[in-house]
């Protein structure tokens, strides 16, 4: 059976078919772009942070009394916290990774702002940080207790040793990727810092920053009066340890302000909140669009069958087999879907181009378009399947009977 008669019959009854085609075109344009953006966001959210972020929490601690001794407080608190059951390790730190708050600065591979340069998010902390953060050292060593500088006055400059992420070290020394430990780099005052350890991978302060994996730990505590404590617990003990730590800190010294305890997981979720909101909304829209398109195709196919019972009966009476009737409707549907898909491809590319131009989203990946086209073809055929089967059941006697 040729497609020509189907096509000319379509042309005579074009309104319904055209509506289905428009719907399919719009659906393709929406779904392809929505799925693309969603997958982008899910990839971003699924990146490993490098931290043991499921088992960590943090809070701020601030002293305010007149003769308050900041370093005595930090030392006593740390001694107590590290001894508590369920605690893996704890560290004083100026900001919490993944929280969206932090500091960054610029470093150079040579003095006088020469050579390669790179910005880095830095954390002022102590020799327990590597363990408290749960990051993996790829090379070199952790800070020694003697590396840590307890600085009472707010002056510029970092101590002379640093533990840095591989991403940051490689940005400064792209040619020496296998001997990063021991390299010296410089701040904007040409003060040297030595890389003593390299962290395999770790995320810093801002998850939306394209250099989120450039991080430096600096062995610096002070000057106070405020600091944050980062505490890592044994797996599964987070809640119990949080309750215990809160009361232990207040009990040890009630004369300071202990801020609200927040899990690192919570910081992470709120940093990714807008990404997950976008992903959820777009997934819901995608699902709904697909369901409605399928229902629309189904509804119109049913309608087509209903209005053509006499025609189908006549065809059956003059010798068409059930198979012919099914394939007639499937072919008709396929033609309409194809028209929709063709227009939809152009529309999807236009929308994708416009989104990336207007809103700085990444350019649409063409695999998604191919997948969308295949998916809609299948969806269109599935939705028309049941009405086509019903059409095949029309008895040849319908040809002579009135409706």
């Amino acid at each position: 059976m040729g497609l020509r008669p189907i096509f000319s019959s379509l042309l005579r009854n074009s309104a319904g078919a055209l509506l289905v085609a428009i719907q399919i075109a719009l659906t393709l344009a929406i779904v392809v772009n929505a799925v693309f953006v969603t997958s982008e966001r899910l990839t971003k959210m699924g990146r490993p942070s490098g931290l043991d972020d499921q088992n960590q929490f943090a809070m701020s601690v601030t002293g305010f009394e007149k003769n308050f001794d900041f370093f005595a407080m930090v030392r006593a608190d740390m001694a107590m916290l590290r001894d508590m059951p369920g605690v893996v390790d704890a560290s004083p730190i100026n900001q919490i990774p993944l929280s969206g708050g932090g500091s960054s600065t610029m470093f150079y591979s040579l003095p006088d702002k020469k050579g390669e340069n790179s910005p880095v998010a830095y954390y002022n902390t102590d020799d327990h940080a590597v363990k408290a953060l749960g990051v993996k050292l790829a090379g070199g060593r952790n800070f020694a207790a003697t590396d840590v500088v307890y600085r009472p006055k707010d002056v510029q400059g970092f101590p002379g040793t640093a533990v840095v992420t591989r991403a940051f070290a490689e940005a400064l020394f792209p040619k020496d990727k296998d001997k990063l430990v021991g390299k010296t780099f410089y701040d904007d005052q040409s003060k040297p810092l030595v890389i003593v350890g390299v962290i395999e991978q770790m995320h810093g302060a801002w998850v939306g920053w394209d250099k989120v994996d450039r991080v430096m730990l600096s062995p610096l505590v002070g000057p106070g009066p405020g600091v944050r404590y980062l505490i890592r617990t044994q797996p599964g003990q987070l809640d119990a340890v949080m309750t215990a730590v809160e009361s232990a800190l207040r009990k040890r010294d009630p004369n300071r302000v202990v801020g609200k305890l927040r899990t690192v997981q919570n910081f992470k979720q709120s940093s990714y909140a807008s990404d997950s909101l976008t992903a959820v909304t777009l997934s819901v829209v995608t699902g709904l669009v697909l369901i409605f398109s399928a229902l629309g195709i189904f509804g119109l196919a049913t309608f087509n069958v209903n209005t053509r019972t006499r025609q189908i009966g006549t065809r059956r009476a003059v010798g068409a087999r059930k198979r012919d009737i099914v394939s007639y409707f499937m072919a008709e549907n396929w033609m309409v879907t194809s028209l929709g898909v063709l227009v939809g491809c152009i529309l999807a590319l236009a929308v994708g181009y416009w989104l990336s131009n207007q809103f700085g989203l990444p350019r649409l990946n063409l695999y998604f378009l191919v997948g969308g086209v295949a998916g809609l073809w299948v969806l269109g055929q599935l939705a028309a399947w049941q009405p086509a089967l019903r059409a095949a059941k029309v008895s040849p006697a319908m040809a002579t009977r009135s409706v």
């Binding site: 719009l26 929505a34 005052q189 801020g259 709904l288 229902l295 409706v403």
Partner: protein
């Protein structure tokens, strides 16, 4: 006649309840998705103090690095914050009717009657802050220019802080300790939740307002740094707090109130003159790049609405379009299915126009039903979004209020959309020749 059409419509719905439900659902879901995205868009795009939009201005001047712009993606923008010297320099102008400079600091507050010491965020600002931003006062008021100069040890508390410190009583005249210094309460704000927090977008457009307000000059006396963003570009040897104040680091924000267009012109000229004068002193090496933003312009410059919000709104309306095309197709199918009935009505004397209006009424009823269902679904959606989002974003009522006017918009949109969707099918059915349907019957 309309009532008769309504009755006919109900009869028609009874004939195909499944198809009718599908159409109502299509419209309802399309509308509800639009409503949820529209709510979050409108919440972000709302302009606080709309009646002062043409009066309040944020000046921006470009003190940044001669070698590269402040924002590489938007090279024409000047930095959103100012150095201490420039903030003071702009504040010295006598052109504005009102003016303020400010930054965000923090410190431990203690000494209230029943207060646990607490680390509070403080807005270090000048007295005009309160009348310029029309903050509502529960007790007392702001402070005057004399208190700014002194500076006098005065403080304005937020309602919440007053509740913590004094159990909500009138605390004007009482004292509190902040940074170990006594401050006298001169005013307590009532609930004041500017959303978006337009005057401090660099630190988060939906952050909470600060818990206390303290005269600006105390910042320098207490040697306070910023609790928000501080950005520096220049290599400077900073040894003391004074060095820091004199550096090219930016962390201050200015606002001015200019009530007449003449003052706006004069102030623009003042900004240019100021920068040209600074250029002669070897600063401001970048091209003359001064801006005076209204509140609305300031929010746009800082992209408060967010690109995701805009893209999502467009996606939602595209989804509504799919739903509508779907409804047009289903209506067409439904009407043509019932064509014999229309044929009989035509034969009995109904005009084409009657048939058209009858069917348009039917689609209108579907649209309104869908619109109301969609509106309810949308409200439920906003609530769901809030409870889901609220786990890690505080104070969501402010960031995402359920705005019931959006509900009305939803119903109106769906009515209009439903009528548009019904136009073609209703017209088509009205044109069908009655004879062909009568013949077979």
């Amino acid at each position: 006649m309309f009532a008769y059409y309504l009755r006919l419509a109900v009869q028609s719905f009874r004939r195909n309840p499944g198809l009718t439900a599908l159409m109502v659902m299509a419209i309802a879901l399309g509308i509800s998705v639009c409503m949820v995205t529209l709510t979050s868009y409108r919440a972000a795009a709302r302009i606080p103090l709309p009646h002062k939009n043409e009066m309040l201005y944020a000046p921006n001047i470009d003190s940044w690095d001669p070698k590269e712009p402040y924002d590489k993606d938007k090279a024409l923008n000047a930095p959103d914050l100012q150095t201490y010297r420039d903030a003071r320099g702009l504040y010295a102008s006598t052109i504005p009717d009102r003016k303020l400079i400010m930054f965000k600091a923090g410190g431990v507050l203690s000494g209230g009657k029943n207060m646990q010491p607490e680390y509070v965020a403080a807005r270090m600002t000048t007295g005009d802050f309160f009348p310029m931003f029309e903050t509502p006062f529960l007790y007392g008021g702001g402070w005057n220019a004399k208190a700014d100069e002194g500076p006098e040890p005065v403080v304005v508390l937020s309602k919440e802080t007053n509740e913590k410190a004094f159990g909500g009583a009138n605390s004007v005249g009482k004292t509190l300790l902040w940074h170990d210094r006594e401050f006298r309460v001169v005013g307590v704000l009532n609930d004041w939740e500017p959303a978006p927090k337009f005057y401090d977008v660099s630190n988060g457009s939906f952050d909470d307002p600060e818990q206390i307000y303290v005269p600006f000059t105390w910042g320098q006396i207490l040697e306070l740094g910023s609790d928000g963003n501080t950005n520096c570009w220049k290599t400077e040897d900073i040894k003391s707090y004074q060095d820091f104040l004199n550096s090219e680091c930016i962390w201050f924000e200015s606002w001015v109130e200019l009530r007449t267009p003449e003052k706006v012109v004069a102030y623009r000229k003042f900004l240019d003159d100021y920068v040209i004068d600074q250029k002669s002193k070897g600063r401001f090496a970048r091209p003359l790049n001064n801006y005076l933003y209204t509140i609305e312009g300031w929010m746009q410059r800082n992209n408060v609405v967010g690109t995701d919000n805009k893209a999502m709104l467009i996606m939602a309306f595209a989804f509504l379009a799919v739903c509508l095309v779907n409804t047009v197709g289903l209506l067409l199918a439904k009407f043509l299915n019932a064509a014999p009935i229309a044929g009989v009505r035509r034969a009995l004397g109904a005009s084409r126009r009657d048939i058209f209006w009858q069917h348009l009424t039917e689609s209108g009823v579907i649209a309104v039903t869908g619109g109301i269902a969609g509106g309810l679904l949308g409200v439920a959606g906003v609530w769901a979004l809030r409870s889901w989002y609220g786990r890690f974003v505080q104070d969501l009522e402010r960031a995402l209020p359920v705005d019931y006017s959006t509900f009305v918009i939803a119903v109106v949109i769906s009515l209009v959309a439903g009528i548009i969707a019904g136009l073609y099918p209703a017209w088509r059915i009205g044109r069908a020749a009655p004879a062909s349907y009568l013949k077979v019957q």
